[in-house]
Symmetry: C2
Subunit: 343 residues, 2 copies
């Protein structure tokens, strides 16, 4: 049998309540007894039984606030599945989830939601964060008042958040670069279609890609970088122009959204299959284009895990005070082709 609080109490000749106070650093115990109990627990290698804790905690209940932007974004559906799965596992531990979906990517709106949660008194917060000073301050304020915050999908630099769950974006750009190199057998002309030069994630994906091209595929030239503002209509137009200007283009690397717009341009000019395409994520249009063989590779970031893990980490902390081992938990760089897109 494992060591229990009862056994420690017997040995120390105090009550179980007293042992509990010591082990959880609660006040109201003399230093002498505190010391003694600690030593015994140490010597016996006491580990609290989480089931016992959980049952006692049922009287309370713990709410984790979740902030997700833009309801319509299908990418966040998978994140939500991960959150719901974690919630299901933790339900019997009295964990509740309070979703707040922001309508914009506006820092002020996200700030207001954080403050709303703070006023309401959630026990912890998980959020796809906007990298803005206002938000950084709000997060630090939460953390200072003992409410842990975990970010997922997008991170905020220099804040007191507990950890971040998401891609190493530079690395995923490198993977894209390597795949492009293999597709072109090391030579040819490639264009990059990016969402916006103002979006950190897109720039990091470009940086990684370029790095691999420089180091490993010096015969592949990056001939153009086009912004599509993550919009299919703009993406279509500009890809069209791109393809007309550079008739012998061999590959297109798309860092963000607007994937189907770009592919439409390829189809329109009869260059689908001929020009290789690499994209990110698994939105339905992208999945279909992979199935059609127009997109060669799409690189996923394990959105399920990005939802699942933050909730588990926060629950672990709330129940046993344990911090995650690293402060950036990297989700898989998940390469998909036609034959494994559905698994």
């Amino acid at each position: 049998m494992r060591v229990t609080i009862r056994k420690i109490a017997e040995i120390a000749k105090v009550s179980r309540g007293t042992v509990d106070k010591v082990l959880n650093n609660r006040p109201g115990v003399s230093d002498e007894i505190r010391q003694k109990v600690k030593e015994i627990a140490e010597a016996l290698d006491y580990k609290p039984n989480i089931i016992g804790k959980a049952l006692a905690y049922q009287k309370k209940s713990v709410t984790i606030g979740v902030i997700i932007p833009l309801e319509e974004n299908p990418f966040f559906e998978d994140i939500k599945k991960g959150i719901d799965a974690a919630h299901e596992e933790l339900k019997d531990f009295g964990v509740k989830i309070d979703y707040q979906i922001t309508k914009s990517l506006d820092a002020q709106e996200q700030y207001n939601v954080i403050k709303h949660f703070q006023a309401k008194g959630v026990s912890a917060l998980a959020m796809a964060v906007i990298n803005h000073d206002l938000i950084r301050e709000a997060i630090d304020d939460m953390v200072d008042s003992k409410i842990p915050v975990v970010t997922f999908n997008t991170d905020i630099i220099g804040s007191k958040r507990m950890c971040f769950v998401g891609h190493d974006l530079v690395k995923s750009g490198k993977v894209a670069g390597e795949l492009m190199g293999k597709l072109l057998n090391g030579k040819g002309k490639v264009a990059i279609i990016t969402g916006s030069h103002n979006i950190l994630a897109h720039n990091q994906r470009i940086d990684g890609f370029k790095k691999v091209m420089d180091e490993d595929f010096s015969d592949i030239k990056i001939v153009d970088i086009v912004e599509n503002m993550d919009q299919d209509s703009i993406s279509f137009e500009r890809t069209l122009i791109l393809l007309e200007n550079i008739a012998d283009l061999n590959g297109i690397y798309i860092t963000g959204a607007g994937v189907s717009g770009a592919c439409k341009a390829l189809k329109f000019l009869g260059k689908a299959h001929e020009v290789k395409v690499i994209s990110f994520d698994f939105v339905p249009e992208t999945v279909n284009l992979v199935k059609e063989g127009i997109i060669d590779f799409t690189i996923g970031q394990d959105p399920f895990e990005q939802g699942y893990k933050p909730i588990k980490i926060l629950a672990e902390y709330l129940f046993s005070g344990q911090y995650p081992e690293v402060n950036h938990i990297q989700t898989k760089i998940d390469i998909r082709v036609k034959e494994n897109i559905d698994i």
Copy 2:
């Protein structure tokens, strides 16, 4: 608050013990009361609280037997990590793991281990199974005596096992085929190096590969299929001969072990990088060869999950009688290249 056994007892005007008997189909309750309690539970949508159950179960303890072949196989290290992770999560529920490592791939030995577990009285069994009649009978016998069995990594057909956790091997062969097609840009000569024509897994990986070649890459010819008996020395020799016979070979597809032997032959003849290579799994030699750029793609089968999931499924069943939703849980077909081999 959720509905508890206590609330049902109050409403039905019986004791909590009686409610417990009814809800768990234990004997010793009159039909009349049984009926009444069931109706109330139904009406209130009662769901047992797993924490309460778990705490009560602490008095007992549940042992899950695990059978893994061949200790030295590094592939099983990752499976073991998955098992250990699941065990860690379930420890406080009183779950214990009893490992038995078989020294051979002999059906008789595995049979003896199953019988050993049966005599010892484990509560459930997870195993990487040998597809043999003797084993099938032993498994069915276990299941008939209410001991659930989950298979992982390799399956046994037509048995009463609860479910299988592992790759769809034909599908993973298809993925390999698609990748080879992309590497060769749809044309060239490819050879297959397989472990043995007697191993079902290898044959299925060949079938999937061939199917994709036939359907999508008719300009790629499969020029030879070589057996290496999963051994590096044989693999080296026969790959050498292969490369000498077919001077303009463009790609090698390796279905099983002996990967480093084959690559050694490529290096020896100065054909590394020139001839494309696709392999399976992440044994250390393979990982290094991917990093060197000699293997272009290696396809993983998520060994961690193959260990983790069976234990979770069995625990779920033991604690709440729930069966998994499907009887083949497919693990990821996990494509790796140099840049994401370490994640």
